[in-house]
């Protein structure tokens, strides 16, 4: 079995054999990757608001970064400031609203609409943070690759295990299907997010992310998610700010 059950991982952790590196004192040099802050290409004509898929994916990428570093909104706000994006992501509340526009989110009351400029700002922030964390992302990915090649349990690799534990924990507590979604499925999602972050950590990462987002097939949302994809599209097309309550 490639991805073990959580109980199995917990028992491994208790033995103390495998978690030799703590996430927060891992010996990574900070790296400076010069990001090319090119103007991202415009999206498809008429797309004034982010689709549910775009909103969900941006939030999941931020969740991945958070799971890698242990940092949360402070890092995002600092990045927004460094990139002069305060008008789009002004403070913690604004960020909370943007992230809670993800249709997969449990919480209600957040704003549902994210306009395309706000999505673009989040893309730049994600590229910036991924570049900052490039060394950690790469090391985690290398551990994962070594584990897969040697048919070892990825959860037993210190960096991968820490990342997956964090991601699973955040996903379970924040997403509407967190209680019911199969653990292997969340683990697979976490690993795919990790792989994507590697590619977005490049100086060309933001353009890659933007292009991929605009071409990403529509995501299936659980029936009880706050907003279905078609609702978002209709609302975006009508230019309405009024969204159905969850």
């Amino acid at each position: 079995m490639l991805f073990p059950e959580r109980g199995q991982v917990a028992s491994l952790a208790q033995t103390g054999d495998h978690r030799v590196l703590s996430k927060h004192n891992a010996p990574f040099d900070s790296v400076t990757v010069e990001h090319k802050h090119t103007l991202l290409d415009n999206g498809p004509d008429g797309l004034s608001a982010a689709t549910g898929t775009i909103k969900a994916h941006l939030d999941l990428l931020l969740l991945g970064l958070e799971s890698l570093s242990g940092e949360s909104s402070e890092a995002v706000l600092a990045a927004a400031q460094a990139l002069n994006l305060q008008d789009r992501i002004a403070d913690r509340v604004a960020l909370w609203r943007l992230r809670n526009a993800n249709p997969l989110r449990r919480s209600s009351g957040g704003r549902k609409k994210v306009d395309i400029e706000e999505a673009r700002a989040l893309v730049l922030v994600i590229g910036h943070l991924a570049a900052q964390q490039q060394a950690r992302i790469r090391s985690t990915l290398e551990q994962l690759e070594a584990a897969v090649e040697q048919e070892r349990n990825p959860f037993r690799q210190p960096l991968v295990g820490d990342y997956l534990d964090e991601f699973l924990s955040h996903y379970r507590s924040r997403m509407v299907d967190g209680d019911v979604r199969d653990e292997n499925s969340i683990t697979e999602l976490a690993l795919r997010i990790l792989i994507e972050l590697m590619f977005y950590s490049s100086p060309r990462g933001t353009q890659r992310l933007w292009t991929a987002l605009l071409n990403r097939p529509a995501m299936d949302f659980p029936p009880n998610s706050e907003l279905q994809e078609e609702d978002v599209a209709q609302a975006a097309n009508s230019g309405s700010d009024t969204f159905p309550a969850s």
Binding site: E145, I195, E196, M198, F199, A212, P217
Partner: protein, 299 residues
């Protein structure tokens, strides 16, 4: 004529390009390699631990490589990884974290490298940078490739995520750039177009269909087969074709056939047929013989 070279370096990948120019660039903001006009050559080293693999090619080769790797990573990042190919390069997923790159290089035949995700990242970084530095790469003058009787064919067939994607095998005569472009377009069309339902073929009896496939295969191979002058014995293959007559696989059935497959029109095909066989696919015994003779029989 001044020669220019540059090396692009990533942890697991080193790409060195070189070429000649009559007008060196003196503007320090422009990459010197942009001035390359002719004689372009490149060498790509992909490292894994203590071992490394060296690949070499010309501007068309590198251009194909850039195209397929960028397109492939794009499909990865959109959440739907898909194998892809163009001209002399192909890449496909092996599992969620590794990939198989296949390239044809000059007369040396086909080279294959399995890449991890970090190796793919490093390769993409080098390729994206060289593409930005030499935007006219694909229009650089091609080098003359000397082959004793034919030009190497493009990578024209591969299995993609369980979906069979097939293109014609043989482009055995010297191609003009226009002809190559047409081939590339045709190949890419087949890749991106959803698989045609095999049942869309005109209805015909099985026997008649088999006969048609056999005669089409025979005609196609007869046009392409040029036996090497030193060939003394027959090269025997089990060849699989789909319902439309496109070649899917060629499995050597004798040792000599295995050794000399690179000199046959079947060189670019996978050896193992898809399992299960697509509906309507047929298998034939193909014997390629000295003096440009061949025989195709029903299995």
């Amino acid at each position: 004529m001044p020669s220019i070279s540059h090396t692009y370096q990533q942890p697991t990948s080193t790409l060195t390009v070189q070429g000649e120019t009559s007008n060196p660039i003196e503007d320090s903001t422009t990459p010197p390699v942009r001035a390359i006009q002719r004689g372009f050559e490149c060498q790509l080293e992909i490292r894994q631990g203590e071992t490394s693999k060296i690949l070499r090619g010309d501007s068309v080769w590198l251009s194909d490589l850039i195209t397929v790797v960028e397109r492939y990573v794009g499909s990865q990042l959109q959440g739907e990884p898909k194998g892809t190919f163009s001209g002399k390069a192909a890449i496909r997923p092996l599992d969620f974290i590794s990939h198989r790159l296949t390239v044809r290089q000059g007369e040396e035949g086909i080279a294959q490298v399995d890449l991890s995700m970090t190796q793919l990242y490093d390769l993409l970084e080098n390729l994206t940078q060289v593409a930005a530095d030499i935007p006219h790469l694909s229009s650089l003058k091609r080098q003359v490739v000397r082959a004793w009787y034919r030009q190497p064919a493009g990578i024209a067939a591969l299995l993609v995520g369980g979906i069979v994607v097939v293109a014609g095998v043989g482009v055995w005569v010297t191609r003009t750039p226009e002809a190559e472009e047409q081939l590339t377009n045709r190949v890419q069309e087949q890749l991106t177009t959803p698989a045609q339902p095999l049942t869309a073929a005109p209805p015909q009896t099985t026997d008649q269909a088999d006969l048609d496939l056999l005669s089409r295969l025979q005609e196609q191979l007869a046009e392409q087969w040029q036996s090497p002058p030193d060939l003394q014995e027959s090269l025997i293959y089990q060849v699989t074709v789909d319902a439309t007559g496109s070649l899917l696989a060629a499995q050597p059935t004798n040792v000599l056939a295995q050794e000399r497959i690179g000199q046959t029109p079947l060189a670019d095909l996978p050896q193992l047929p898809p399992d299960p066989l697509p509906e309507g696919a047929q298998q034939f015994r193909v014997s390629l013989e000295p003096d440009n003779r061949l025989e195709v029989t029903q299995e």
